[in-house]
Symmetry: none
Subunit: 220 residues, 4 copies
């Protein structure tokens, strides 16, 4: 995810300092965003001298990429752990979104950082989204194979539903600075998600065939 592998600290003391810097950076980025974040602020928060920063990182972008990679990894972990604990697809879906919202509430940093990353570190941002989608789409594809969900295109559906979750989280957690998503909003979203995925008996139209996106030409 990061272009250059993180320098390994060669000393326990070094490792400790490096970790303190990362922690401080996450906090500063979360609070004031990438551009307002200065190395001075980060080192002050970490309680080390300015020059020490450059012993461990080559610059602001490098530590940013590492923070993003970290957060991205953690949110993926949280989501996949949660959803894989539930056997049925709908349940897994609910658990995954639940985990995502929890993580968002506890680490608003991810949100605020990712949305800034477009001009700062497009690679990091694209990797973040792509990694999440990969796991999500794989789950959807499997579910589709089992007939648990409608034959939607897994990749497109994954991007679409991730986008849905993202804006809902932004609106009801970040903007409200809430500790979690309101239950009714969560259920309303699940209703939409379930509608999008659940196998249905359509009142009209042929049941969609097809697997890959290209040949999928949904009617309507």
């Amino acid at each position: 995810m990061t272009a250059t592998a993180p320098r390994p600290a060669r000393t326990p003391r070094g490792a400790r300092t490096r970790a303190r810097l990362l922690e401080a950076a996450e906090h500063v980025f979360e609070t004031v965003g990438y551009h307002e974040a200065s190395i001075v602020k980060i080192t002050e928060e970490a309680g080390v001298a300015l020059g020490t920063f450059y012993v461990h990182f080559s610059g602001k972008k490098e530590i940013f990429d590492e923070v993003v990679g970290d957060l991205s990894h953690r949110v993926r972990q949280a989501m996949s752990e949660a959803s894989s604990a539930v056997p049925d697809r709908i349940g897994a879906e609910r658990a995954g979104f639940r985990a995502f919202f929890r993580f968002t509430a506890e680490h608003p940093a991810l949100y605020r950082i990712i949305r800034q990353a477009e001009f700062v570190s497009p690679e990091a941002m694209q990797a973040h989204y792509a990694n999440i989608v990969d796991g999500y789409a794989a789950g959807l594809a499997a579910a589709r194979g089992r007939g648990d969900i409608r034959p939607v295109d897994p990749t497109v559906a994954a991007w679409a539903l991730m986008g849905a979750g993202e804006l809902i989280g932004m609106r009801w957690i970040l903007w409200e600075q809430a500790a979690d998503i309101p239950e009714d909003v969560y259920e309303a979203l699940m209703d939409v998600v379930q509608g999008a995925l659940a196998p249905t008996t359509r009142t009209a139209g042929p049941s969609l065939p097809s697997a890959t996106t290209t040949d999928t030409r949904p009617d309507l």
Copy 2:
């Protein structure tokens, strides 16, 4: 939307200069983002002297807000025009998304700017999203009243589907620098959207209670 109403230009020459600056600013913001955009770049692109900028705008944030407001207004206009031209809900839905993707392809600025605005001008960003949702949710509420769609919560559905469209646009238009969304992706997304909204006969699953969020966010 903007805190201070835009200064009206006193003379035709002034109005022309002001317009040139706005145009230049939109281009610069789109190209390099808010933070890399400097007043010097904007004035150079507009072909006016540096000092002239401050004759027309109080600062960088002011012109940014105005550019965002502009773009936001235009995308809303494009979407509502497109969807209101179609009578049935599904058709309106398709037309609205279509217009959104078109606009995105033609004005990547909106995307790139909005996602930066969080730390620069949260009001502008929230206004942008809220305004779009307002119109969207109103349409959904009306459709629901007519029985054209399932009884989803209009506000939550609007945020969710806007999010879906946003990420799909980011992935397949911005990242690919495409001139429009690929047809198969568009249809795959429409399939998801339709699944989320279309009235169905469920084969299984608890009929989720219609969310009670409506009081939180007055839809309309």
Copy 3:
């Protein structure tokens, strides 16, 4: 000589400030050398704000090149004026060296700066020496054509004698911080120079074949 043409000041005030900066830079470079010279020192000496520097110059190297170009031009002017006022070659030679030493005594900057320029701005340094040699070699070639001097290779002789003058100036003006070169040193040097150039009847020694360089290096 300078790669990029100097920005023309578009205002009398601007021109004044620019000149003040150049003057200050010459003094600072002379005093502490290129590397110890900081923009801060230059602007302080010029009595302008730090940022003002960058209104007129793109950086330290740019102003350095301009200062070098200036000094180089002035010393050439001084030398050619002096030597062209004297008809005979030996007299011209003496006058040229005299002018060079005078200039050196009055503007030690040139010396100290040029010898630093190798790593800083090789182009500027090479241009300086090459320009001096050009004029010098042309004079020697003409004198040779008239039979005023021995048939030495004008270019090689010009570089050699310039080198001789340079070290003599360094040793007896710069190192001694003298106001001018000691008369006896001057005469002793002139003796050497005259020996090198004056037409002679050799009493002994193999009459060296007139160097074979002449064909290789077109002597003007």
Copy 4:
């Protein structure tokens, strides 16, 4: 030459490390000059840890002085060996210049370093030149005593001819990055040098009185 005598290494390992550092420093100084040379670069090139540097040297200037002293010593050795192998003065002259140019071609470091040393370590630079001149002037004085050359002032002549050689070497070896001086240039220079020194019967002009510099620089 150097203010503080070089610390003797206490152990064989220490001596090896010290030598590695000196070698690395010579290379780094030659490549990027004094100011761009950093202790980090030197230690990296030497393959030792940063802190190790200060075990052997007190700082950057100290190692610089030692490198300069080394090179200066080696070039003097090369020149005196070469010239002392030839009995007649003109032959010795030619051999000395030849050796100087050879050394220059093989160790451009000397050149580049010395010309930087003015602001870094004037003592080292002055010592370098003075040492060379001492030997050179002594040789000239002896030759003059034997009547091998004209009665020029030995010290002034030594400085002058050293300057001549220096610029010729700079122009045709350093700037051209040549492996040696072109033969024709060498001969043309020797022609000039011989003209300057060789005993002659002047066809015209007063035979200049031997300069009175002798008090300044005792010849012998």
